[in-house]
Amino acid sequence: MTNLNAADRLLLLLFAVAVLAGPVILAPFGAGYPDLLQKFAIYGLFAIGFNILFGLTGYLSFGHAAFLGVGSYAAVWAFKLLSMNVLPAIVFAVLLGGLFALLIGYVSLRRSGIYFSILTLAFAQMSYNMAYSVLTPLTNGETGLQIALDDPRILDGAGQSGGLPLTNLFGLPMNQTWESELLGMTVQFNVGFYLCAAVLILGFYAALRIFRSPFGLMLRALKSNQNRLNYTGVNTRPYALAAFVISGMYAGLAGGLLAATDPLAGAERMQWTASGEVVLMTILGGAGTLLGPVLGAGMIKYFEAILSAINKAELSDLLSFLPDALREPLVSVLALFVGEGWHLTLGVIFMAIVIFLPGGLVEGARRAMRLFSRGASDAPSEERPAK
């Protein structure tokens, strides 16, 4: 952790502590179960990677889900062919995600602006359609790619018997969970989550280093004025391509982790709605900021889990303190926004963010802080006349 200033070191430390203590911190909010925690970490990683491209260079890719999907397929193939250890699977996923990003990025980055968005979208849709049709031998089409008993698994396939093997890290199964009581709540410590958390912290560290490096500065310059850079004699395309490949590797990594926690890969992960989701996460949290994407990913996955679980009857219970005449219409209106309709909430929040707070949650927090600190700095000035 050399070359980081004190503030960054503190940020990294706080981030690491917050992530590692995730099961404890989030338990009171009803989000302390492994499945959701893993999603937080994985999609946080996905969004961090997307942010390196979109937040720094300003290239809006609408096809990042393709790399996530490729990562998932790569990881499941590694489970099928090599071993159930997650390490080779993850490495394989990152490499393939990066390779795929290199191919698509090389072509797409020849255009910029809306054309770039459409090109990435076209490539992602192409991959999605191919995963469903021609590539069925590789992807198992609509059923999704799964591990099976008779897979070769050349490294640890020998001597296995009984049910399907579990994904593991050197023998430690991913779905193992220790429960303990803390302050009257059940806290679940899950191996899979801690693997994801460790990778997330590493990914965050890498992003931090990129943000603070000359390379990161160059990417920002690309965003603010690419023409001027070109005129100065800088060939910008390698920088943009490097950013694209890095973010593709993050996406592949996220896809690999998705497969590591649940060894299944389906083409729907590549659909363009999934690409849209990571855009939403990044914007919601704050594009171009370090913490924003993780926050945005956490928010969206949290709301998805909480809101989609609420149904009309629960809503009615929740509002039981209201008189019937008021409650009935209110419940029927609110019911639009929960359960199946949680996407509506997502759309409304997203629009509100883009319209009123283009910098996302981080920008909002910064504004609130400024308001707060201005209030504090105003206080002494009021005392001054009294002196």
Binding site: S112, N129, S133
Partner: protein
């Protein structure tokens, strides 16, 4: 020859839909400089105008038959649509032709939605980067489609074409070929003619009216037109409404071909964007030509003979063509210089 002709015809109906949506997208982009990701949602809303209209005219009066009983012993219900009760034969005709007649509902509704959208939301995004415009209209598209899902449910709703247009038309015989060599669903033929009429009307409107002339002038140089004392904003707002109407009418008439569901707009939007980019951003003629071209290409790619050589080509042909065109002709087929270059 007949097989060739049949594939061209097959491509035409999808191509018509692509062309109409792409035309609206290009109109909005050309006038307001806004990339509208909610345009697919407008197509979908148009289709649901048809669904809503159909639901209203087929609303049934339920009476209990005084004499007859069902096998379960309960009185037999007699269901008669109100339209038939009130208007007799005219009502029956109304039900049969609900899809084309629903245009009378779709056009004003879509105009209203379009104008409200431009004045209420898009107006605030002219000065913002294209990425923000994409994002906010993307958010709007999600909201619109979720609202439709809440109102009409998630399942596709089949819509009947008028009964006299439901069968197959012997297209070959019409143009002097042997009878029954080229038969084609009548409604799709109607849809193509409808699309051609709309496209012709939009072009004529832009080319031959004073209003259209001012709009074209505004597309070329908005500021100067404004300086000449013309309220160009108002005309551009109307053009946004017109683009919404084109998308909505396209959706309403398409409903017998593809049963409307809440995410049909998104499926079409992705392809329509590809169409716009292939045609050339900002070129109306390019959008229309590319729409038909890609529709026909897609239909050729789904022929069995082609699929045997290149399996799965029908799924990706449009994207493949788009990539090839963007790399060789960066401005698209008929793109103008200086549009979206940065």
């Amino acid at each position: 020859m007949d097989a060739f002709l049949l594939q061209v015809l097959n491509g035409l109906d999808k191509g018509s839909a692509y062309a109409l949506i792409a035309l609206g997208l290009t109109l909005i982009f050309g006038t307001l400089g806004v990339v509208n990701f909610a345009h697919g949602a407008l197509f979908m809303l148009g289709a649901f105008c048809a669904v809503a209209f159909d639901k209203v005219v087929t609303a049934e009066r339920v009476l209990l038959d005084p004499i007859k009983k069902t096998p379960w012993g309960t009185p037999l219900e007699v269901r008669v649509p109100y339209a038939k009760v009130w208007f007799g034969d005219a009502g029956e005709w109304l039900i049969d032709y609900s899809v084309p007649i629903s245009l009378a509902l779709a056009v004003p509704v879509m105009m209203l939605i379009g104008v409200a959208m431009e004045r209420g939301l898009i107006r605030h995004f002219y000065k913002r980067p294209h990425a923000d415009q994409i994002l906010v209209t993307f958010g709007l598209a999600i909201v619109l489609q979720e609202l439709v899902k809440a109102g009409f449910g998630a399942n596709p709703i089949p819509m009947p074409a008028p009964s006299s247009y439901q069968g197959m038309a012997d297209f070959g015989a019409l143009i002097g070929m042997e009878p029954n060599t080229v038969v084609y669903p009548t409604w799709r033929l109607v849809y193509f003619l409808f699309a051609a009429a709309i496209i012709g009307a939009v072009f004529a409107f832009l080319q031959f009216t004073t209003f259209g002339m001012v709009v074209r002038a505004g597309m070329a140089d908005r500021e100067t037109v404004g300086l000449l004392g013309i309220d160009i904003d108002r005309r551009f707002t109307f053009m946004f409404g017109l683009a919404a109407v084109v998308a909505g009418a396209a959706g309403a008439m398409y409903s017998p071909i593809l049963s409307p569901d809440y995410h049909m707009g998104m499926d079409f939007l992705v392809l329509s964007f590809v169409v716009v980019v292939v045609g050339g951003m900002g070129s109306l003629g390019g959008a229309v030509a590319a729409g038909f071209l890609l529709g026909i290409l897609q239909s050729f790619a789904s022929m069995n003979e082609v699929k045997q050589i290149l399996p799965g080509i029908d799924q990706i042909i449009i994207y493949l063509v788009a990539v090839a065109i963007l790399l060789t002709r960066p401005r698209g087929l008929m793109g103008r210089k200086g549009v979206m270059e940065s």
